[in-house]
């Protein structure tokens, strides 16, 4: 089974995260790291903003022709000797992967980092069926040992400090000398490299995700920095690619547009270390490579959002820039969001994938400050889409009653301008008088959530509309 979301407990999760000292240490490091790195790299590419526009338009074009490109991709894969499996949901995808693994009596499966794999809970399922999944991305390996889910799309172990990695490795690698020195991050990485090498060489099946599916070439694409994905797909007898339907792009030339914005947005690198295009199994004269090549195409609820007011979230290329720039994510980290995807894009995707009733707080876990949209390489209007989710929650009566009453009251007032102006005028003056000479309130009705932690700056006696009118001289 896939991982049960705890997204409805966002508030409790977030409160815990704020008090979690190692997590706050890890988030502090990440915060300082990512924003400046991206800025420096983007500054070196004058065409970056134009590339973002083209990336957005390209994705919109694909989403409007998804059936065409998926069918073209399928035919191209078949022409190269590979197989395509269409799986409408997580259950059918898991069953298909197991079926393929069973054809070679697989005992171990290596895995490159795949978010769709996390989404469908492939690891637990394989394990329950007697097959050992070995995560090979260093971050994924760390969280697999810790029994956790990823806390970031591209840095799954972002929440783990170096000291915790040492602790984890000492607990897991019990065959090694307990007195060995692991002070250095480099020593920790060398230990993981050594451990995982053995896994790579003995695996029967390698499972990777895909950043892109190239329709006219029948090729899948992975982008990594470690090289783990390449070892995963080169060494075993079978390579299985898990990919969601919206990953398809028409051609290599189009993929280059996305490759020029992906790494710059994700890690602030000009290019990731390894970008690999794979099409079909090894050719008869090849000296290495898998004997079988399978692509498992997964919908899992995405197509239902085509042609909806939320479809723009399907443009996402999973770079993680919105997480790296989100003040809420910076404060609470990824696990507070309670499922596989976190941050602003997680707040859009999780309700789609697990049902909005199981992710009620997420569309509200944002100040709508707009930083996410300002860095999204394919210009997803994340704040607008979060509001669309909020509207859906309201119309489906998922929003809590007090909030619904508040919104109803506000709407009632907003539709009656005279009354609105009168009430806000009274309110503004009352708060001004209450605040006295300091201009700050230590408590105010309905604002305890704010005033418990800090003073509320009081209004200055006149409403915005009054001031606007005064400054402009006349009503427009």
């Amino acid at each position: 089974m896939s991982f049960v979301p705890t997204s409805n407990a966002f508030k409790e999760n977030a409160a815990g995260a704020l008090k979690d000292v190692p997590l706050q240490e890890a988030l502090g490091i990440a915060r300082h790291h990512s924003i400046q790195t991206r800025l420096n790299t983007v500054a070196k590419m004058p065409e970056f903003e134009s590339l973002r526009d083209i990336g957005r338009d390209l994705k919109n074009h694909i989403i409007a022709n998804l059936d065409h490109y998926l069918l073209q991709f399928e035919q191209s894969v078949i022409d190269r000797g590979g197989k395509v499996h269409w799986c409408p949901d997580g259950e059918s995808a898991r069953a298909k992967v197991l079926e393929i693994c069973r054809t070679v009596n697989a005992k171990t499966v290596t895995k490159g980092k795949t978010m769709i794999g996390e989404e469908i809970g492939i690891n637990d399922f394989l394990f329950a069926n007697g097959i050992e999944p070995v995560e090979t991305d260093l971050g994924e390996y760390i969280i697999q040992l810790r029994g956790e889910t990823p806390s970031h799309i591209i840095g799954p172990a972002l929440h783990v400090t170096k000291a915790q990695v040492e602790e984890t490795f000492r607990a897991a690698h019990t065959d090694l000398d307990p007195k060995r020195n692991l002070d250095d991050a480099a020593t920790l990485m060398a230990e993981a490299r050594e451990k995982l090498r053995a896994g790579f060489l003995k695996a029967d099946v390698g499972i990777t995700g895909a950043n892109f599916l190239i329709a006219d070439e029948g090729a899948t694409t992975i982008v990594t920095n470690e090289g783990n994905g390449d070892l995963t797909q080169t060494l075993p007898r079978i390579h299985i690619v898990l990919a969601s339907i919206e990953k398809v792009v028409p051609s290599l030339k189009d993929a280059m547009t996305l490759l020029r914005i992906l790494a710059r947005s994700a890690t602030g690198q000009e290019q990731s270390v390894y970008t690999t295009f794979s099409s079909g199994p090894r050719r008869p004269s090849d000296l290495d490579g898998p004997e079988e090549f399978h692509v498992v195409l997964i919908d899992n609820g995405r197509s239902a959002y085509l042609g909806s007011d939320l479809e723009e979230m399907l443009r996402c290329i999973r770079c993680g820039a919105c997480l790296d720039h989100c003040p809420v994510y910076h404060s609470v980290g990824g696990h507070a969001y309670g499922w596989v995807y976190s941050g602003p894009i997680g707040s859009l995707l999780t309700p789609m994938l697990v049902g909005v009733e199981n992710a009620k707080p997420l569309p509200n876990a944002s100040t709508l400050c707009g930083r996410c949209e300002s860095v999204c390489p394919v210009r997803i209007p994340i704040p607008k889409l979060l509001r669309n989710w909020r509207e859906r929650e309201f119309s489906r009566a998922i929003t809590p009653q007090t909030e619904r009453s508040g919104l109803w009251f506000w709407a009632f007032m907003a539709k009656r301008p005279l009354l609105y102006r009168l009430v806000t005028r009274i309110g503004a003056r009352a708060l001004f008088n209450l605040a006295g000479q300091h201009g700050r309130l230590s408590s105010a009705p309905l604002a305890s959530g704010w005033t418990k932690h800090r003073d509320l700056p009081a209004t200055q006696g006149r409403t915005f509309q009054e001031q606007w009118k005064a400054k402009k001289g006349a009503r427009s």
Binding site: D57, L138, P156, K162, A219, L231, R282, R283, G289, A304
Partner: protein, 224 residues
């Protein structure tokens, strides 16, 4: 397809229903057309020193570079690289003639063998399809003479290219990939930009996560 026909039909039907909703929402406007890709000017503008840009970008990607006059100088350059870094004097070569037919007898201290890797090779020496100046990226492909395992398993990866293989953009490099008789891509094409790395432990960037810890490029001024 016979085994997954139902799933395929259901997915396509659902996608097509979505596409028809899109059409409704557009109210007669045409569907979004495919934009023309834009190739950055960095490596294509008139007068750009493509080789110079490649040198800079390769170093930025934390690879190392050596330049020699002719193919006959490559074995000595490899020997020098191994000795200077205290690496074992043993290399695994791509069977491809551009590498295996180099005059290795000129570097008698270096033990050579050729073929795919099984994980016991400290250093590989391979050719490349092309080298891309815009980001210092090596483009490699699988073939009967260039096994992919040599690109990922060894601790050090030495790539030998002719200067004429340095191109400006990814698009230029992809045009040089050797395709199958039916025009298909080889099983795999690798873009490699510097040595393997990870920042997954405490956000500290370290080289050599799973793939090669070092990437060393030898550029030959003449032909290979």
């Amino acid at each position: 397809m016979s085994t997954s026909g139902t799933g395929r039909d259901r997915m396509l039907a659902s996608i097509r229903a979505g596409i028809s909703r899109q059409a409704d929402r557009r109210h007669g406007e045409p569907a979004p057309s495919k934009p023309t890709p834009l190739i950055p000017a960095r490596a294509t503008a008139p007068g750009v020193d493509v080789v110079g840009l490649f040198r800079t970008q390769l170093i930025n990607a934390k690879a190392t570079l050596d330049e020699v006059a002719s193919r006959d100088d490559v074995p000595a350059a490899v020997a020098r690289y191994l000795a200077n870094n205290n690496f074992e004097a043993r290399v695994r070569l791509s069977p491809d003639a551009r590498v295996s037919s180099l005059p290795w007898d000129k570097a008698p201290m270096v033990e050579t063998s050729s073929g795919r890797s099984h994980g016991n090779d400290p250093t590989s020496v391979t050719p490349a399809v092309a080298a891309v100046a815009e980001t210092g990226t090596m483009v490699l492909q699988s073939s009967d003479g260039t096994p992919t395992t040599l690109h990922f398993l060894p601790d050090q990866h030495v790539v030998v290219i002719a200067k004429s293989q340095i191109v400006g953009t990814y698009e230029d490099a992809l045009a040089r990939v050797k395709r199958g008789p039916d025009g298909s891509l080889p099983r795999t094409v690798n873009f490699v930009t510097g040595p393997s790395r990870s920042a997954d432990i405490g956000k500290i960037l370290l080289m050599g996560a799973h793939g090669p810890k070092k990437l060393h490029v030898i550029v030959v001024d003449g032909e290979l």
